[in-house]
Symmetry: C2
Subunit: 343 residues, 2 copies
DNA sequence: TTGAAAGCGATACCAA
DNA sequence: TTGGTATCGCTTTCAA
């Protein structure tokens, strides 16, 4: 007993939407031919193709990727887990990541991990249940349980923003220790004697701060004032953090911040107090966000190339998915200390 | 001939992943019972439930939502189309939108419409092929073709950021004309005589600027200098825009900007030129982004509540999906002019 | 170049 | 409370 949906009013679980079968009937071909016309047009005779295309536009057919993905085990979906979409460094990374993948016919689905109500494992399970073809992670610090699920999914994975000696699969990022060391040596090379640090209570930020302090001490600078502010940071964090430093007796020197947002807040507080930047104090940010080149003269920063991370992550992931060989599984994109000159 | 996947090495299209059937076999129940244990645990005897749960954690089972969605026609997916993820006003809206939906068991999939290489219709088709249960749109300006596909999907829709008399389904936003009028009257009420406008070449921004100019003229202010900058805007846009105004002879008065980013750029340029804000000129932004309350004293702004838009959009959409009655289909969240005082 | 039939992994429907 | 069976809409496999 064949189906004859068009003739019987309603089959048991009929649906209202237009399916391949509707298109096939209209075009006078079988469903598989329509499927081929969509996925491998070159495998279909040109006249057939025309017929099918006409039928598609006549019906306004929209393929059902759930069904397609279920059948083919390829969803053309890539998942990305980031701490927060409102943090512009992550948003920019994802923006480049998505844009590259979009051109390759993939779509990105986002998960936000930065919210405590959201346990990481549940997030990962939720994401994996959509059966993405690949997955981007932010950071390398996953619980044992999570690693199990991640590896169990048997899909290409890319960890970003941080580097590790033992990536789950691929890592694209930079070393936060190296950033700290570079900042420490930058500061001493400039002959600066007093250093203040306004640092968010964020794992990676703390790694950078620690490495910086170690390097400074190694180079003989012991006068380091530190202020911790809670993540996510905003301008207010910077203002408050800088005030703390001043209370601790910080006067002339450099204020190193865990993000450009914090740095900006420090600048505002300094201006409010009549402290001239970069004359009396100088400020170093991190991320190079919101600071289009040459636009903001008063703050120097550690530039991390979000587009590079996003693009390389996308590229490597795709290569893995297409089962091409991937030369490097640990990719260091580096960073750069950008000095801003006053105009 | 029944399937006996566990005994035969490989069936024709076997897969490596763990399915409901694997769990069922281990728990000694049928697949539908496992399905119930997951979706309606209260409909399953407690001993059975325990067995099933044990089997689930033993196997590390992750449900396949493609299959589930296909069978049930409920994907627990909500799509959101925004111009750009890196624009913080949209990102914040989505952040609240997602967070509300997440608690209700839904996941958000994003589409970016702001990139020209991406035609809107293709974007919509791509999104709809994932069969979301609902859809958020930014703006109310859709092509006829798009409206057709959108309506054809027969899912709840919510248009945000803008209001219209004839929404596709639901609209949550505010009137950009009203913003313009309010700004116009705010300016004249303060007794300001000269107005400069730095406006992005963005549809909604232009609507606001136009309404403001009309209102100003109505109230007898004709001395309006305008500078257009291209979207997406950054600090540089503001600097350049303000420079243009100065060239046109703008001296004392207020600079009205199409976004806070632009306003911030204007501030920087003013400071660079030694023009004191808000004494010699005052600055009005739009959006209240990046300006945590009371943090940035020099710039006033038009505050639009992103969390309200995101939350109300999510709430209304869910109500529609659950087929609850929705009282209002046009929801005006309003706006507010926030004056910042100098400290 | 085209098609028939058998899945993909879940849920809906009806029965026990 | 539990299970058998028929789908959901598409692609793979194999055959014509």
């Amino acid at each position: 007993m064949k189906k004859a949906k068009s003739t019987m009013k309603q089959t048991k679980r009929s649906s209202d939407s237009i399916t391949l079968e509707d298109v096939a009937r209209l075009a006078g071909v079988s469903t598989i031919t329509v499927s081929r016309a969509l996925n491998y047009p070159e495998k279909v005779a040109s006249t057939t193709l025309e017929n099918v295309n006409r039928a598609i536009s006549q019906t306004g057919y929209v393929p059902n990727l759930l069904a397609g993905g279920l059948a083919s085990k390829k969803t053309k979906l890539i998942a990305a887990i980031i701490p927060s979409i409102t943090n512009s460094v992550y948003a920019e990374t994802i923006q480049h990541f998505s844009s590259y993948l979009r051109e390759a016919g993939y779509q990105v689905i986002l998960g936000e991990s930065g919210y405590p109500e959201q346990n990481e494992q549940k997030l990962i399970t939720t994401i994996l249940s959509r059966k993405p073809d690949g997955l981007l992670l932010t950071g390398v610090n996953h619980s044992k349980e999570c690693r199990k699920f991640l590896l169990g999914a048997k899909i290409p994975l890319v960890e970003t923003w941080e580097l590790t000696q033992s990536p789950l699969d691929i890592a694209v990022g930079f070393s936060h220790e190296q950033v700290g060391v570079a900042v420490g040596s930058y500061v001493t090379n400039k002959g600066i004697k007093q250093v203040g640090s306004v640092c968010a209570n964020d794992r990676r930020a703390k790694i950078r701060e620690q490495a910086m302090c170690d390097e400074l001490k190694r180079r003989g600078i012991d006068d380091i004032k530190t202020a911790e502010v809670s993540a996510p940071t905003n301008l207010q964090s910077g203002r408050a953090g800088f005030s703390q430093l001043l209370q601790q007796g910080f006067r002339n020197g450099i204020v190193c911040c865990s993000s450009d947002t914090v740095a900006h807040g420090v600048l505002i507080e300094a201006q409010a107090r009549g402290i001239r930047v970069p004359y009396e104090i100088s400020i170093l940010g991190f991320g190079d966000q919101n600071f289009a080149s040459e636009t903001y003269p008063a703050i120097s920063t550690v530039r991390v190339d979000r587009s590079k991370i996003g693009l390389l992550a996308a590229e490597t992931l795709l290569a893995r998915i297409d089962e091409k060989a991937v030369e490097k599984t640990i990719i260091d994109v580096g960073f750069e200390i950008v000095e801003r000159q006053t105009t």
